[in-house]
Symmetry: C2
Subunit: 201 residues, 2 copies
Amino acid sequence: MASQPAFRRSDPDQRRASLIAACARVLAREGAAGASVRAIALEAGVSPGLIGHHFGGVDTLIAATYAQVEEQVAEALDRAVAAAGPDPRARLEAYVTASLLPPIADSELLSTWIAFWSLVRARSEIARLHDEQYSRFRAGLEALLIENGAQPAALRRIAIAVTALVDGLWLELCLSPQTFAEGEAAAIARDSLPALISTGR
Amino acid sequence: MASQPAFRRSDPDQRRASLIAACARVLAREGAAGASVRAIALEAGVSPGLIGHHFGGVDTLIAATYAQVEEQVAEALDRAVAAAGPDPRARLEAYVTASLLPPIADSELLSTWIAFWSLVRARSEIARLHDEQYSRFRAGLEALLIENGAQPAALRRIAIAVTALVDGLWLELCLSPQTFAEGEAAAIARDSLPALISTGR
DNA sequence: TCGCTTGCTGAACGATCGTATAACAAGCCC
DNA sequence: GGGCTTGTTATACGATCGTTCAGCAAGCGA
């Protein structure tokens, strides 16, 4: 009688991806405080030591998880814009409202993000990741604003304002969803767009 | 030779206030991860057991700290409005920009707030505190918006948008201050106000 | 001055944390 | 099929976590 293998070897890249996914699930379910080496390893169905083997430490794994979640959000926004068609106004609205609708407006995603924020001040490479993500979002927004006739001289100011509006709505939407009616946050952002774009004219 | 007392007894309320202040300092300096019973007790110059004696557990102490910091922020905003004089527009601008200038725009304060956010999903009494704080801020804003001629029908929408704008700017300002020039965030918020108020007219 | 209340200390407990490491074994190569 | 690489496990270690509690002592009232 042949006993089945006690474990399966995996390609290092695949295993790392599996651990990142498990880390994201634990962060979402239990928050930053619950994202221990053992909890993540249990979630991934491996032994605790494997995290050290592949990532060196749990902080590196969390940073890698940040990078991947961030990437997924950016891709979701790009898809939303692409699905909006050619109309510049529709593309801008899609970019702005996509953050305030599922799957990005998700209170579980907030737990992940808070875990990252709590590391920004302590770890400089996390701070760098955050700055990159913020810059990327604002750059994408500025491109769409130009399509919509925003004044170049006011571009930075408008982009910062719209980004802040979206971030603030997203934060409150995730923290206490019952504050808003279905789609209300997205509607508020959409309705505020023309006013913010026209500032400085 | 009379030896000086090994410790001083304190009025329970004063001692609790001292522990809350120490908790706030530790949260600001070391973040949520570093706010352990021992660290807070060391900061306050007392023994670890005293926290359990006065608060039952460290979570209760953190919740009490939330309530107190929130109170201080609200008072600072009220003072800013009072100092702005009688002009409605100046009062509204003071309320909005005060959050984006020292001492409220402080990256140490962000650490404190992140610690609270990380508890919102796990502990319902923290969630309730958050909702109260958000409602209070928005109510204060709505009163000022009425003074400035905002349409009652659009009041809720405008107040939510302005609150989100301020929160988003505050968050990014605390996370990476080097993104903004001195006073830039406050200026952006101030310049965006008339546009947001006029939506719905 | 004595006793009593109680704020307070400090040690101890069990649980859990992150990490290191030696042994094991899966699976490819020759 | 035997050897070798290395992904993986399991254990152990020291540190630190939150909480408990028996006892000390500060300071007030009688």
